[in-house]
Subunit: 336 residues, 2 copies
């Protein structure tokens, strides 16, 4: 019994064109071939609707033009945006992307890494939460937002400068006493530098500040308690807040509304991340903007760079400030 319904192979093309197998391979790969042969082969390819089998290619060449992306999910705007831009950056270089949504689960992260290795990916880009990931020595790896040792490059925005910038902005906009709010992973990662940057900025501008830091398990309600405690005679005792993410800022905003504190009149609010899901019209809050597209390109560049020696252990990309309605401003930027 012969294969019949299956997709055509090079052998079929060769037979159809009346040439040898190697000749077809050369035509497909753009290697020099006599014109008369080339034409016949191309005609046969058209006729049979032939497409190369990347699996056979990959097996032979030990290269798959495939990269795995490990990311908690694609729903939170920062992850969603990163995923998109990394996909675009890979596509530009004609690489395919294996998406691995890990749900912050260290076990799933490890499982996906093994899957990727079995799939012989040419590299892995990972924003992960497992501190002891086991990843094969000869599978290139680029980490986002977390240092995983000097052999693995880490790409992040300049989180420290971002915190500093937030403090300076609040000072510029007239704040005197501010608060720093943080929740999220206590894992040793780059975004944690936002706090140190903010403190540095406050000190250099003579801003006094307090901090409320929630650890992983803590209930979000604690932020509401914290804010309530700082209301005396209907007035909030600080006039500026820096939230470690836009997500948190969004949450704080709803608390403030509920407590009848006006933003930005009574208190100004700055978040961090700066993703605008619907283009320029869409913002929750003023924010420190991560250069997501640049970070994505950098990840891909570093990952696919041949020269292993030229891979720096940490790359910090510059952040910017963007107005978003929760700070006072000379004037709001034009919409649309």
């Amino acid at each position: 019994m012969k294969k019949d319904f299956s997709t055509p192979t090079m052998k079929d093309v060769a037979k159809e064109a009346g040439v040898a197998l190697g000749t077809v391979s050369k035509v497909v790969n753009g290697l020099p071939v006599g014109d008369s042969y080339r034409i016949r082969v191309e005609a046969a390819i058209q006729k049979l609707n032939y497409q190369v089998n990347s699996y056979a290619q990959g097996l032979k060449a030990n290269k798959t033009y495939t990269v795995a992306l490990l990311i908690p999910n694609t729903i939170e705007p920062f992850y969603a945006s990163l995923t998109y831009y990394i996909n675009v950056a890979l596509m530009k270089k004609r690489y395919r992307m294996l998406l691995c949504a890990t749900d912050y689960d260290p076990r799933q992260e490890q499982e996906y890494i093994m899957m990727a290795q079995q799939n012989k990916v040419d590299g892995i880009i990972g924003l992960t939460y497992n501190p002891n990931l086991i990843v094969d020595e000869n599978t290139p790896f680029v980490a986002i937002d977390r240092s995983m040792g000097s052999k693995i490059p880490c790409v992040a925005c300049d989180n420290f400068a971002g915190g500093q910038l937030a403090a300076e902005k609040l000072a510029d906009l007239g704040c005197k006493h501010v608060a720093f709010l943080r929740s999220g992973s206590t894992l040793d990662n780059e975004p944690n530098k936002r706090k140190a940057g903010f403190e540095t900025g406050c000190l250099s501008r003579g801003l006094s500040y307090e901090m409320k830091i929630l650890n992983d398990g803590d209930p979000f309600e604690e932020f509401e308690h914290f804010i309530s405690e700082h209301i005396h005679d209907g007035r909030l005792s600080f006039d500026g807040i820096f939230c470690v993410t836009d997500r948190l800022a969004y949450h704080i905003l709803s608390i403030l509304h509920r407590l009848q504190i006006r933003v930005p009149e009574d208190v100004q609010l700055i978040g961090f991340d700066g993703i605008r899901t619907f283009g320029s019209i869409d913002y929750h809050c003023s924010t420190i903007v991560q250069p997501v597209s640049d970070m994505a390109e950098m990840c891909v560049d570093l990952l696919l760079r041949e020269n292993t020696m030229a891979k720096p252990p940490l790359v910090c990309l510059p952040v910017t400030y963007a107005y978003g309605g929760t700070t006072l401003e000379e004037k709001a930027p034009a919409n649309c």
Copy 2:
């Protein structure tokens, strides 16, 4: 010259364990093997850190356990959510996902399809905008939100019922004269049924309505004109609006704010999609909720279903209504 730094193969394991190649294969695949052999092989696998090569498997078996997802991007909440849940549904069945962000570009869509076919994917799930996609007959395909002929199943939410539900909700909440606003692709797709459903709902409830429909190229500002034109003596001439997406609702909301129209006091607003990126605390507007997770599961089920005959041409999944602050409500649902 021998391979040396490359990853170990079955042959290496066989040599290490002192058994034949076939025996290793059996152990790896869980086929019956003598216990003494099994133990030696497993030890060798451990020692060498062996992992199967899915590319060799795929070549042999003509099955790759890989599915491609074609989606415009992963940034807009509905697409982001769909991507995530499809990834989860695939993972459950131990399938890998090739992410293809197409940017609404018909050419990229076609390119990605060819790439997927060369990659010998076991199937393709696509939310596409190219009406003449060429896709190989023997590559299973499931479409989202767009019918592509009776041979290709289409998965969507019940868009007609959703439009109807929106009209009924507005009627229940006291509206008398409402508006339908729409922008987006004019391509013949399932979401376009929202309009017909809404009209049907209005008629059955005796609601009068007007419509403003923007075509692909039209500037968004037209919505602002439309609304301005319907303000007389500071009052809007309709008391309810149904927007064809949450994205549009969000935009309309900011226009209404600018025009000093209060929501929901002066006019109630219902959108469509219902993605909450930050969990339950996060909403822009009241909305008709698509069952994204169910849609994702359905796509995967249909795609991987062996029995080709059992694939219905169109599957519509039920929608629900969710309060989100832009409609009057008996009381807001408890947060958290």
